[in-house]
Symmetry: C2
Subunit: 396 residues, 2 copies
Amino acid sequence: METCSRTKLIVVGRKIFNEDSGMTRSYVLLTPGPLTTDLAVRRAMLRDWGSRDKSFINLSRDVQSRLSALAQAAASHVCVPLQGSGTFAVEAMISSLMSDQSRSLILVNGAYGRRMAEICRRLGRAFDIYETAEHEPPKAQDIDRILAENSAITHVLMVHCETTSGILNPLSEIAEIVKRHRRELLLDAMSSFGGIEIDLGALGITALAASSNKCLESVPGVSFVLCRHDALEKAQGNSRSLSLDLYDQWCGFKNNGQWRFTPPVQVIAALSKALDLLDAEGGVATRHARFRQNTDILINGMRALGFSTFLDDPLQSPIIVTFRPLPHPNFDARIFTQGLERRGFIIYPGKLTTEESFRIGCIGNITPSTMARVIAAAKSTLKDDMGIVGSSTSSV
Amino acid sequence: METCSRTKLIVVGRKIFNEDSGMTRSYVLLTPGPLTTDLAVRRAMLRDWGSRDKSFINLSRDVQSRLSALAQAAASHVCVPLQGSGTFAVEAMISSLMSDQSRSLILVNGAYGRRMAEICRRLGRAFDIYETAEHEPPKAQDIDRILAENSAITHVLMVHCETTSGILNPLSEIAEIVKRHRRELLLDAMSSFGGIEIDLGALGITALAASSNKCLESVPGVSFVLCRHDALEKAQGNSRSLSLDLYDQWCGFKNNGQWRFTPPVQVIAALSKALDLLDAEGGVATRHARFRQNTDILINGMRALGFSTFLDDPLQSPIIVTFRPLPHPNFDARIFTQGLERRGFIIYPGKLTTEESFRIGCIGNITPSTMARVIAAAKSTLKDDMGIVGSSTSSV
């Protein structure tokens, strides 16, 4: 459990509810982000930087090229970072890389797919929606058929890991079909980038949007789009927003390495440190293995307590897991969440449209031993806060 | 001079050009922002926050109400914070508070006025430009006449302190005219908010946009719009951008105190600490007095060295000063800037369209004694780096 460097507390019981200084509490965030980060990442924010100085320009350039390299795309794709949250990057990608002549097919099985449709609707960009249930991935043969039958569709928009449920959508299959039909694939890889390997070039993906504060395990405040050169070169004049215009943002970097508008310098320094830590861990594959271990320990432990997962195992991402409420008359999701909070763990309510649920994230600066403590805390919460000691819990 | 907490170096000569760790150097930023901040502000970023937790919601709400209160607008205006740089907030203000039926009069005497026009042009919002030279404020009688003659103009857009030159535009006069003509005034107060007193209610200003990293002396990454209640209530559906929709952003806060999209939690914690420091200093009036002292010492010292200011004194803001190159055959602006950098001070090139210049900022965690050291460094740079020892410099 990370604490700030000034204060290191053993947190017991309700003490963590103190609201005074904001420095006296310490949680593990098991959420879809912001996440628990390494203290070294936060310490990287202790310096002031002039945003137009050579040292910051070099730092920013280095971050950009490392982000492209993470997706094996250093030669093919440009990294255009953007101030703001991940949604800003998704909107910038859609508004800059599509034109008024484009038409998109949006694959929806959760809130983030629906959000891409909302962005298109507002921008007045034509789109069709292909929707599956929140526990069902898009079917490759359907996409194949739709693209074959609809020549007006120029772009396919898809969420890689839909954190609404935690489902991992079948990127390789869909990308292969989009590529075969010579359409453009724009990917929301917000919660997968850095934690799941993506080979942009091999998959023929036009662009992906992601942010600093998910699997890259940095703090929030900067997002980015990895964009194929030729697509970016054709993007001039597409965006009606000045702030979210990826083409203009890219031109700024090309001209002098500088951000057009004031960048969050400390947040970018933190991301640079987080990329160091990713390298030190062994890269995306090693990090993926840790997340997978976290997920397995979580799911096995929760199942032993009687919980069931919303998704079938083959669809489950190693990012976030949606659980159903325990089928026990004493179980109360609010008490469960608060009990975990008192024990130092923040989890989030479910986001499903169809049923009650809660979600536990597996990413951030957390390890299998953290997950073992989560299970112990869950068991203690069931027993001590709700009087639930089922036979299924005795094995944990 | 602030340094990071881990490393405190006396920087001599070219050592500060070391590009290795990024942690071994220490500058005073005399720029239009990001600025030199207090170490306590940066230390406030050492904690992780869950963005949907009660503690963060309370922190964010507190920051919002304190920002409104700084403009005597706690009752009349809502503070809607937004991820991203100041330009994001200006665009959000324009796109959300104006509709397709609006027409604006944009007062331009520098790059930031021109940027507002560019935002309107891209958004397809009708506008007229009233432009004065970069050293001339808008004339009140002209605005009066234009508004009287053009009933189609619904909004007036203006920059308070235009950091292109450092000119302080006559807010009270213009606001009074706009109010009398019952039009709406949208103010870019980016580089003045927190350093120059603004009474939003008394001036009848509809909205102002500003950011964390100017006179509030925090780190960059969050901006905000202070917006009159009734104007915000009418703003639904105006913005074509999802990310930059102030109305939707406000609804999110109204519903549950939460940001719609992931907020830069550490940046907001830093802003909260910076507001504490502003209170501790004595508020906006006291800070303004410090900036004015900084400016006076800077201008007097530079004049004694033979430099002249671009602006007449009555127009000069206490934010940033534009100087003309020294009229001496040995003077080279590049050598001057580099010499100051070697001596620990970052200044910025000029942004005027009409003549060569450089700019020195007077805001941030710097004091009159910092400014005295700037003058000493300037004198040393002239003498040691360019061999300029004029009679005018002997008195310093």
